[in-house]
């Protein structure tokens, strides 16, 4: 569960939103409407004012690194700080690469040689290592082909089944329909629920 109350960030908000355990909310809106800004604000990566809490506590009473492990944000473009893939994981030997159709050797690959699709899937796997309670996904399947998109969605559904709350930004109405229980549109800094 994540509960967001009167979130404000520059032109954004005030925004209220609650996502239940195992629920998925899709977020759409024109480019530049602030979808990524909203997710960054929830993860507390940009300055913002809001009352945000999950079942394990209030954001204002949680250290920021701890909060970001629980409320995990997957940006549209992932960042890498070391040369090899395995240096970005806490326990690289325990990660199941086959679920994403990545070869066993992927952990030894060099980041510079990864395709954008491989980067995206590995970034998702490294995020899941922390067993987050909430996932904030920013156009996660944009660099993936149709087949890998479905594999990715299957993994997201598995998280939902485990009770994780998911907010997903997507440009694909079909994806929103496949994953989301509710669908919101971000426009002029305000969220409105899209009627099915």
């Amino acid at each position: 569960m994540i509960h967001i109350e009167s979130l404000k960030r520059l032109a954004l908000g005030p925004i209220d939103l609650e996502v239940a355990d195992g629920e998925c909310v899709a977020l759409t809106g024109a480019s530049g409407s602030g979808k990524s800004l909203l997710l960054r604000a929830i993860a507390d990566l940009d300055p913002n004012t809001a009352e945000v809490r999950t079942q394990s506590g209030d954001r204002s009473h949680t250290e920021a690194p701890e909060w970001r492990r629980k409320v995990a944000y997957l940006p549209a473009e992932s960042g890498w700080w070391a040369d090899k893939v395995n240096e970005h994981f806490m326990a690289p030997e325990k990660v199941d690469l086959t679920q994403f159709g990545l070869g066993d050797g992927a952990m030894d690959w060099e980041v510079a040689r990864l395709s954008s699709g491989e980067r995206q899937r590995l970034a998702f796997l490294r995020l899941l290592e922390h067993k987050p309670e909430v996932l904030l996904l920013d156009e996660p399947t944009a660099p993936l082909d149709a087949e890998n998109t479905l594999i990715f969605e299957t993994r997201v559904k598995q998280c939902l089944g485990e009770g994780v709350s998911v907010i997903i930004v997507t440009h694909d109405p079909a994806q929103a329909k496949r994953l989301a229980n509710r669908h919101f549109v971000l426009e002029n800094g305000q969220l409105t629920e899209a009627k099915p």
Partner: protein
């Protein structure tokens, strides 16, 4: 200092002949440097003559407050120079304070310890010792600090995505910035390390040469040079570390966010 040869202003004018020759060559080769060269040379002459007069009267007056005032003026100028040499600066008064504060603290500390413990002139703040020491230490610390701040600010801007990726995985801000902090500090340390490595073999430092030319025993000149080099390296190192950490603090916040909004746009 029996064999000290007093230079006449005619000797000095004669020495500028080579510079004039450079000017002629610059015109001939169309380097477009005449104006810069002439202006810089003129500026040097005026600045040094003035500073000579100033130091002479300061030494004569022996006032602790005037000495302090000149030292403060030097630190302010150094802080401005640090600020001006960065491509991207921390916004607002903090951008100035990081340079000025570290200059004031480290250089002041080192110079004080030197004057009260090692050299011990009478009185300890005697401008004849305090100001030249302060100037040499500050000049080098200034270069180190501006190099490391420039490196840090460029790296944080360029590597924003990599730093935020670590923050998003639950790293704290110091962990996420560590490689760039280290890189910035190295950049600040390099000139001192290079200077110590090349000294005596490649370069004879200006201060030592000056002392030898004015008749001091080379052994004594070397001792002074060693003292100054240790102080320079020590003070530069301290200033670099302080300034880098201070700037990193100003560019993040207590919620472990990278705050590049606190950095100005690059100046053209």
């Amino acid at each position: 200092m029996s064999d000290y040869i007093v230079l006449s202003y005619f000797d000095i004018a004669l020495a500028s002949v080579f510079l004039l020759l450079n000017g002629v060559l610059s015109v001939w080769l169309r380097l477009g440097l005449v104006r810069n060269l002439a202006f810089a040379a003129l500026r040097m002459v005026v600045q040094l003559l003035l500073v000579g007069l100033l130091l002479k009267s300061l030494f004569a007056m022996q006032s602790p407050w005037l000495t302090l005032l000149v030292a403060a003026f030097m630190a302010t100028f150094a802080a401005r120079e640090i600020w001006a040499r960065q491509e991207r600066r921390v916004r607002g008064w903090r951008g100035f304070a990081i340079g000025g504060g570290t200059m004031g603290v480290t250089v002041g500390l080192v110079a004080l310890v030197t004057l009260t413990v090692f050299v011990q002139p009478e009185p300890w703040w005697s401008p004849r010792y305090a100001l030249p020491l302060l100037g040499m230490i500050m000049g080098n610390a200034m270069t180190g600090v501006s190099l490391s701040l420039d490196s840090l600010h460029t790296a944080l801007t360029r590597e924003q995505r990599a730093i935020e990726a670590q923050l998003l995985l639950g790293a704290d801000k110091w962990q996420a910035m560590r490689p760039f902090l280290r890189q910035a500090m190295r950049a600040g340390f390099m000139p001192s390390i290079n200077a110590m490595a090349a000294i005596g073999v490649v370069s004879l430092p200006g201060m030592m040469t000056g002392q030898i030319l004015s008749g001091v025993d080379p052994n004594e000149a070397v001792k002074y040079q060693l003292l100054v080099m240790f102080l320079i390296a020590g003070a530069t190192g301290l200033a670099v570390i302080l300034a880098t950490l201070g700037s990193a603090r100003a560019l993040t916040d207590d919620r472990h966010r990278l705050r590049l909004d606190q950095l100005s746009k690059p100046n053209p």
